[in-house]
């Protein structure tokens, strides 16, 4: 081959790589933000660098959009990540989950669409404004798709906000209508906070239910994932997350428990690789978050990552992260699609952050773990009627990115006195490593199991972010202790359910026991505290950077300024307490140079004003790269875009008495 030909080949390869690279893990394209996760692989990455460490502190508010009047009353938990396409910014907002289109440069309201769903909306287990919406275009048509609180899939004309008449019935598909078994269309408690995702011409929708801590029955609605034609709303397929007789995984349900068990929904964000034709489903656990006596067996596809063909709904592979779950681990957030270099070869992989602080990494074509995942024996409990899994899967790499379970070494240690009090405080509880099971609560002990990285999750629904250029994954996690106790249900609240979550300290009052919670105030309702300080030592919240080529944790920094209540605590007088980070749920954004995330909750601000800081970190080192004031904490995840030569950062904020608001930042001219 001569030089010219070789160069021609090389150029062709470069062009092919640039144009035909796998969609789904390349970051937000063209300076826009067209899907919830920036791209279909949920990287939350934008290759923008106008906003940098050199100027982050100079950011100014470009515009604000208050969501109070989008519904009949203000909303205080705005979790949206808006989209930006062709100069228009789209978001959900307000108590009825209205949709708005705004001018992305000024915040001016262009149109609003709202549905009053009456009793159906009021019966929803997933109310309020949700996490956002999806955008689709074939070049001519432009559509916005979202799921209402009452569980209807709506298609709107992105230019006008009018419902698309050819979609479903008058622009809406009733998502309660074609489930198996059939459910009540008004009152059945099913909904969704997550956004739909559009792959090709298929809209994919999951399901969420009432919380599983205190189920009224072992029988519940079954989670299913469905695909709909984006033009007509016609249902194309349904993937049942509880396999039926003859299907793969059916044998993991003993005593015919598959027949009545429900939940096992996909309430988190779904990711898609359009090139491979696959969608990746993060499935929650089956009915009852803490007691599995009515569902013996591993219970597939509970707490499994499942890959399906998004055109047919056919299962391609699955991997169960927790067998017979008893800790409410679910899979709470989007799988992140990553192309990484492992042992000299490029692998199309998928990385799954989790409540249990493991990052599970698989080959996304085959489902094989990138690094070995070992089945290891785990502690067995003594709850009557429970049948524990003897082993659980443990990834060997990356190591856990936050603390799991609870040991004496995890307890607060600012002073020997505080440590001693903490040791005393946990004496009546069961503690142990990850997968230590919940305890039946007894006055003589154990009152409950105390554990981190379970129901009080390391990582929750905001998930992580990934830099496709450096192959570094970023994820926020908290260290928080959950109280996992079981008590008999209060009379008349449960049909055939042997235990509900609770402890003798609090549950007794509902079962006619001695005294009321009022009489026993303090320490009963949550994990014990030590003079009001957290039971555990800091950090309480952090951002982790994980190199996915090597599986090494690159850096970890506490995220969030030390709360005043800790800084000013009399027991810590004279001590130099470093930044502790704060617990919460935090979504991250990655750009060319920065990792950007707001602090969880209201906290100390440099000006002393009530509010919270939007922080930037150098993405290579984790060093502080700036912070800007916000009047309330981030409750959605930040997104970014370019418009007329200027980079914008938009964050949904709310909390406490501060109602939902979108805030857009940009640099001064």
């Amino acid at each position: 081959m001569n030089n010219w030909k070789r160069r021609g080949c090389l150029a062709a390869i470069v062009v092919a790589l640039l144009t035909a690279g796998p969609r789904g893990q390349t970051g937000a394209p063209r300076g826009e933000w067209p899907t919830y996760g920036g791209d279909l692989g949920h990287t939350r990455y934008a290759a923008l660098d106008q906003i940098s460490a050199a100027n982050f502190n100079d950011l100014e508010v470009a515009w604000r959009f208050k969501t109070d009047n989008l519904g009949p009353r203000p909303e205080f938990n705005l979790q949206s990540t808006p989209l930006m396409v062709r100069g228009r910014l789209y978001s959900t907002g307000g108590t009825r989950r209205a949709v708005v289109a705004l001018d992305a440069g000024t915040g001016e309201l262009l149109w609003v669409h709202s549905e009053d769903e009456g009793a159906r909306g009021a019966a929803s287990p997933r109310q309020l404004s949700g996490r956002g919406l999806a955008y689709w275009s074939d070049g001519k048509d432009e559509r916005i798709l979202y799921v209402t609180p009452g569980y209807r899939l709506i298609a709107l004309d992105a230019r006008t906000g009018n419902p698309m008449p050819g979609f479903g019935r008058g622009g809406a598909v009733d998502l309660k209508a074609d489930l198996d078994p059939a459910i009540d269309l008004t009152n059945a408690p099913i909904g969704l906070h997550a956004t739909p995702i559009v792959a090709g011409n298929v809209v994919i929708v999951g399901a969420a239910f009432e919380t599983g801590a205190n189920p009224k029955s072992r029988r519940n609605i079954k989670g299913a994932v469905r695909g709909f034609d984006v033009r007509t709303g016609k249902r194309l397929w349904m993937f049942k997350t509880i396999p039926e007789p003859g299907e793969v995984g059916h044998e993991t349900w003993e005593n015919d428990s598959w027949a009545y068990t429900g939940n096992t929904g996909v309430w988190a964000q779904i990711s898609v690789d359009e090139e491979l034709g696959m969608a990746y489903l993060p499935v929650e656990l089956p009915t009852h978050d803490y007691y599995g006596g009515a569902r013996p067996g591993n219970g597939l596809f509970g707490e499994s990552l499942v890959a399906i063909d998004y055109r047919t709904g056919e299962r391609k592979w699955h991997y169960q992260l927790v067998h017979h779950g008893l800790w409410d681990m679910d899979i709470p957030c989007a799988p992140i699609l990553v192309d990484i270099r492992v042992n000299g070869r490029t692998v199309k992989a998928v990385a799954q952050p989790s409540k249990q602080a493991f990052l599970y990494v698989f080959d996304r074509v085959t489902g094989q773990p990138i690094w070995p995942i070992e089945e290891r024996p785990v502690p067995q409990g003594d709850t009557p009627g429970e049948k524990y899994s003897p082993t659980q899967p443990f990834p060997t790499r990356p190591r856990a990115y936050d603390r799991q379970g609870l040991t004496i070494d995890d307890l607060i240690d600012f002073t020997p006195q505080l440590r001693a009090e903490a040791v005393k405080a946990v004496a009546q509880y069961r503690i142990g490593p990850l997968f230590t099971p919940p305890a039946v609560s007894r006055a003589e002990g154990p009152i409950a199991t105390l554990a981190m990285a379970t129901q009080a999750p390391a990582t929750n629904w905001p998930g992580g972010a990934y830099d496709p250029e450096t192959h570094i994954l970023y994820v926020y996690s908290q260290s928080a202790v959950a109280t996992l106790g079981l008590v008999p249900p209060a009379e008349g609240t449960a049909d055939g359910v042997r235990y509900h979550q609770g402890t003798v300290l609090t549950g007794a009052r509902r079962t006619g026991g001695s005294g009321s919670a009022t009489a026993q105030a303090g320490g009963a309702a949550t994990a014990p505290t030590v003079q009001g300080l957290p039971l555990i030592k800091p950090p309480y919240g952090r951002i982790n950077a994980i190199n996915l080529d090597s599986g090494d944790i690159l850096w970890q920094v506490p995220h969030g300024e030390t709360p005043e209540a800790i800084r000013n605590h009399p027991a810590l007088k004279g001590l130099n307490v470093p930044r502790t980070g704060r617990p919460g749920q935090v979504g991250t954004l990655v750009t060319r140079t920065l990792v950007i995330a707001g602090e969880p909750g209201f906290g100390p601000t440099p000006s002393g004003q009530r509010g919270s800081m939007l922080r930037a970190y150098d993405k290579r080192t984790g060093a502080d790269a700036g912070a800007v004031y916000m009047p309330a904490p981030q409750t959605g995840s930040p997104m970014t875009y370019m418009l007329n030569g200027r980079q914008y950062l938009v964050v949904a904020i709310s909390g406490g008495s501060y109602s939902g608001e979108l805030v857009a930042f940009r640099l001064p001219q």
């Binding site: 009353r73 309020l128 209540a565």
Partner: protein, 136 residues
């Protein structure tokens, strides 16, 4: 009608800021609030106020992340206008005040002789603080 005692405490409030550590609710009120909480709030916020998924915890770090340093009035107004989520505005002011008293008692704040009263702007002077302020 205001009792002489409540009137006296209100007058005191007018003069200085107080905190949730100053006995701003009665035990009886918290007990009434306990029942109301079980009927109207526990479904979403949990029997133990720990919160569940979509509904935040009303105790512990999540609560203070949202409310540390705020006034009881701000919290009361939030409850009055947005809760319970399935029928906002369906509780009377007195019922909301009882539920607030129950929340305070669960967080181990001391009960006192004064009934928590949402009328007359009294709550705007009561600050939510996780720790008892040190005497000056």
């Amino acid at each position: 009608m205001l009792t002489w005692f409540t009137a006296a405490v209100l007058a005191l409030f007018a003069a200085q800021q107080v905190t949730v550590w100053d006995g701003v609710f009665t035990r009886e009120q918290a007990e009434r609030g306990d029942k109301l909480y079980a009927d109207r709030c526990a479904r979403c916020h949990g029997d133990t106020l720990q919160g569940v998924e979509a509904a935040p915890a009303l105790v512990g770090s999540t609560f203070y992340n949202n409310w540390e340093g705020e006034t009881l009035d701000a919290l009361f107004e939030r409850m009055r206008t947005s809760m319970p989520q399935d029928r906002p505005g369906s509780l009377t002011r007195a019922e909301n005040a009882d539920i607030l008293a129950y929340m305070l008692s669960t967080a181990a704040y001391p009960a006192g002789k004064m009934t928590l009263d949402a009328q007359g702007g009294a709550l705007t002077r009561v600050k939510i603080l996780m720790y008892r302020p040190t005497p000056k």
